[in-house]
Amino acid sequence: MPEDRVEDEEVLYRRVRHEYLVFIEGEWKCGENAFGDPDQQPSVDRAKLQGDSPHPTRAEPSDGIARLVATKVRAIQTVVKRRPSGVQEYPYRIDIKPDPTEQAHRGFNPAHARIYATPEEKMGSKAWRMLKDELSAMAIMELPPEKVDT
């Protein structure tokens, strides 16, 4: 059986709670904490494994679903490990790995994947913020929030 791999052309969906979204200048913007993850491996769903629909990714009507493309995620080159002096040690390579898993809102999710950096180590704050910033900058709102309870 061939090893599963996220192909470059694959579309990825990220569930974004409305608290991380703002509608400004005619479009939805994702705050960078929309890509937060305590393990520094933001979850996404692979569109092709859920019928190219963003809807299964949505857990609540107030969620927005942001769209990324794998090749752009892999092209990120600005996330770097630095010494305390600021000198660059090495760049992190950003990739996506399949990670089928159980999820509270949808049960077993074969489309689940994770964005991660190699070498796999806890990144410093600046590197991690940079990754979140890159992801939020490239995110396009595929499915805006339907209803926001305030």
Binding site: E19, Y20, V22, E25, G31, E32, H105, W128, R129, D133
Partner: protein
Amino acid sequence: MDQFQLQRAYYLLRDVYFTSVAGYQMFSLPTRFEIIPSLIQTKVSSQDETDPVLTDLFSKLDTLPNWGKDWPEHRSAAPDQATIERAREWILGLYHAAKIIGADWIDPLITASEESEVTFEWWRGEKKLTVYVTKDDVEARKRWREGANLQREEVEANTPAALQTLWAWVAGD
């Protein structure tokens, strides 16, 4: 000089500053801050207490101790009170800086990170400002687009002059 006299001095200077073509050269911003030290304090004044913009900002900050509390997937600690207090002082300083330079205010997106920081984000056109507040520090990063590329710069955000420069960048065309 009491608070009232300082306020009057401020408004007098402000009027001269904004009505004079040569005002910028006559009263450099740091100098004006030295003249009116009470106006750069980051404590909430009675005027601030009734300002609807500040009231809204502060009420958003007040929700952060409960950030993610009811979200099943959320596994991070919310910002602590010291961090929120620092964020309150910082945003108050920025709001005052915006007023002093006469620029429009833009409401930020206020969120908490999984590292328990308070994060402020502003967008205007191709520009974005992100500010990270912890109980010990405030860090800011500008991002803008040049052609197809994003440019970024970490910038100072801890002095009155820096806040004015920062806001002039955010609010400017």
